[in-house]
């Protein structure tokens, strides 16, 4: 029905309007403002360094632990915030959905866009840490771009499913923080992939986020390419999830207004 380029362009403007709204509204009437985007991964890094590195002596592949943890935490924070915000995106815009027609997926893309800004802010500190720990970037750092694309696609797929389900079952909203937390421990954020026993490794890599997060660390700090077979698996799983999710979402979205 709406496939002309003009429509696409207009929808892009709608997406950026929603993203701008989310960003502005989030940081208005807050003293620290956009610094919050930095404080979240930073405080996690401090806690992780104390608990995992200092107390539990978790190895970090010879990289200073703070930079090891932070390189994963900024991307994980982007992921988990987008999941949390994306899942409730339909319900928190219920008054709008009940009254006005617009492509519902724009709300999800806006959440991703607003999250990218936070990622950018949090990355500034990462650059500082690279200097401090005298880690120099190599050409392999360019891997971040495709990795980020896979991550964004996966996130979009996941929130398409969860946000549509959330319209029908509010249980999703309650379960989600728990699931995201468990998911983080199934992903090499606080520890390296090298601590996973060999027999478990293939199953471990079924988590599409595992290869992605590990990939960032290799690309940015170790200066090597991601573990390609695992990344390939991650891309395949992402493609399957996102395709199914889009079909489900498109179908469900037509009658969100009736049930939301």
């Amino acid at each position: 029905m709406h496939n002309t380029t003009a429509d696409l362009f207009r929808h892009w403007e709608l997406i950026s309007s929603f993203a701008l709204r989310d960003i502005k509204a989030r940081y208005k009437q807050s003293a620290l403002g956009v610094a919050w985007a930095l404080l979240q991964p930073l405080s996690m890094m401090v806690v992780f360094t104390l608990v995992f590195s200092l107390f539990a002596k978790v190895p970090s592949d010879g990289i200073p632990y703070p930079v090891f943890a932070y390189s994963a935490l900024i991307f994980w924070t982007f992921f988990s915030n987008a999941i949390t915000g994306g899942t409730v995106a339909m319900v928190s815009n219920a008054s709008l959905i009940r009254k006005i027609y617009f492509p519902r997926e724009t709300l999800l893309i806006a959440v991703l866009l607003a999250g990218l800004l936070d990622l950018g802010v949090a990355s500034l500190l990462f650059v500082g840490m690279l200097f401090y720990y005298k880690v120099s970037l190599s050409l392999a750092a360019l891997w971040v771009v495709p990795l980020l694309l896979v991550q964004i696609t996966l996130t979009f797929g996941v929130i398409s499913l969860t946000s549509a389900s959330h319209v029908y079952y509010r249980d999703i909203g309650h379960a989600l923080p728990l699931v995201v937390q468990l998911w983080m421990f199934a992903t090499p954020v606080a520890y390296p992939v090298s601590v996973i026993p060999g027999w478990l490794h293939p199953f471990y890599m079924l988590n599409p986020m595992a290869a992605i997060i590990d990939g960032y660390r290799r690309a940015l700090i170790l200066g090597t390419a991601p573990e390609l077979p695992a990344l390939g698996m991650s891309v395949a799983i992402t493609a399957i999830i996102t395709t199914i999710a889009l079909l489900v979402f498109k179908r469900a979205a037509r009658t969100f207004a009736d049930v939301i």
Binding site: R10, I100, R254
Partner: protein, 410 residues
């Protein structure tokens, strides 16, 4: 390409009734599933058809009035027309950009400024940033928010928010416009602006769907009227004919409905109460349909258990929303209840009636002039329908026709 901008064929909409504010919970679903697996009877979901087999089409530049009782399916139809939801069966095609003045200001964010909200709301309504930019000054001027444009709108009065919402919606430049009770927005001068905007849009050959309970507004603006009743099309055609038939139906419905009895206090110890209210024409035949210039006779029957020093009787006329259009009361000194009365009758004659075409309800009451306390109040004691050829004349707008003359002085 044809000039048809809206086409519905065989559109039906089913809703499943759900209980509680929770849409549904996993617990319920798991319960239903286990019951089914165990072979137990599963309680069927209750269904409700808000629309059944609705078909019509509109040409470009046509203005359609949409009428019907509350719950007839008008809102559901508007939701389908505005693409907020899809029909359960049937097809719906629109050709052109759609705008709506139904839920103005939806999507405003309280923490954002008026300026930011104009851009946000504009893009939700389908405008590009450049379009909003171009019309920005017009929108601000129309909304009359002036120097508060950079203030978060949570500090706006509700009137200002409403005006801002309407201003954005009115500037979206749609090809098809849906309007729901446009005239209920804002103060008089703002309403004038709204009406001008409506006239302007009509001139620009826009297709308009207008929903209003005010039948005068409908016949004034719409050439075609769709009357929807219990989810189906009852009548579709030339506006005067449909509105007349609608009034006919409403009258029949009214006589079936009971009036409400209110202000019942301290268990029957009411010094004076209204027993009944009846309406008749000039020759005292019971009647509730009149033309504008007819004489209407209203008899209020009351009983009083003891003499009452001060008493005022009143009758007020209301529109379908219950809005008081005007009432008349007795002079406190004129009617005296000096002795207990069994069946006192008080007659009010309205001659001429002077109400314009429409359906009205009448309240009758009796109160204490000193304390303004109601001894008795009968809400919607009578239904009054005004139609006929005089009522249909276009000499006057709104609810009331008042005696007047025009004179050319120069």
């Amino acid at each position: 390409m044809s000039d048809t901008t809206i086409e519905l064929s065989g559109v039906s909409k089913r809703y499943r009734l759900r209980h509680g504010w929770y849409v549904t919970s996993l617990k319920d679903e798991v319960g239903r599933l286990t019951a089914r697996l165990l072979g137990r009877a599963v309680q069927p979901r209750e269904e409700f058809w808000a629309l059944r087999d609705v078909s019509f089409s509109l040409e470009r530049g046509e203005v359609l009035g949409l009428i019907g009782m509350n719950g007839a399916g008008k809102s559901t139809l508007l939701k389908i027309l505005s693409q907020v939801t899809v029909p359960t069966t049937g097809s719906f095609v629109t050709n052109g950009r759609l705008g709506s003045l139904i839920e103005i200001g939806a999507g405003f964010h309280p923490d954002l400024s008026g300026r930011e909200n104009i851009f946000l709301n504009g893009s939700i309504m389908g405008m590009t940033r450049r379009e909003v930019q171009r019309k920005f000054d017009q929108i601000v001027a129309f909304a009359e928010v002036g120097r508060f444009i950079d203030t978060p709108i949570k500090f706006y009065s509700s009137g200002m928010q409403m005006r801002l919402g309407f201003a954005v919606a009115a500037h979206t430049d749609p090809d098809i416009l849906l309007i729901d009770e446009i005239l209920a927005v804002g103060d008089a001068s703002f309403q004038a602006k709204c009406l001008n905007k409506l006239a302007e849009l009509k001139e620009q050959d826009k297709t308009i769907v207008l929903v209003s309970h005010n039948l005068t507004n409908i016949t004034e603006h719409a050439r075609t009227v769709l009357w929807i009743d219990h989810g189906t099309i009852r009548m579709f055609g030339e506006s005067d004919a449909v509105v007349d038939a609608y009034l006919e139906h409403v009258t029949a419905d009214m006589s079936a409905e009971d009036s409400h009895h209110e202000a019942r206090d301290s268990g029957g110890d009411r010094p004076i109460s209204i027993l009944g209210v009846a309406m008749a024409d000039a020759s005292e035949r019971p009647q509730n349909r009149f033309d504008r210039e007819d004489t209407v006779v209203i008899d209020v029957t009351y009983s009083a258990s003891r003499p009452i020093p001060g008493v005022v009787f009143g009758v007020s006329v209301h529109d379908v929303h219950g809005y008081d259009l005007g009432g008349v009361v007795t002079d406190p000194d004129s009617i005296k209840v000096t002795a207990p009365a069994d069946h006192g009758v008080l007659r009010l004659t309205l001659s001429p009636l002077l109400f314009n075409k429409g359906a009205y309800t009448l309240d009758a009451y009796v109160l204490d002039p000193a304390t303004r306390r109601y001894y008795d109040l009968r809400r919607r004691a009578l239904r009054l329908v005004v139609d006929g050829h005089r009522a249909a004349s276009r000499e006057s707008t709104g609810y009331v026709f008042y005696p007047h003359q025009w004179e050319r002085l120069k």
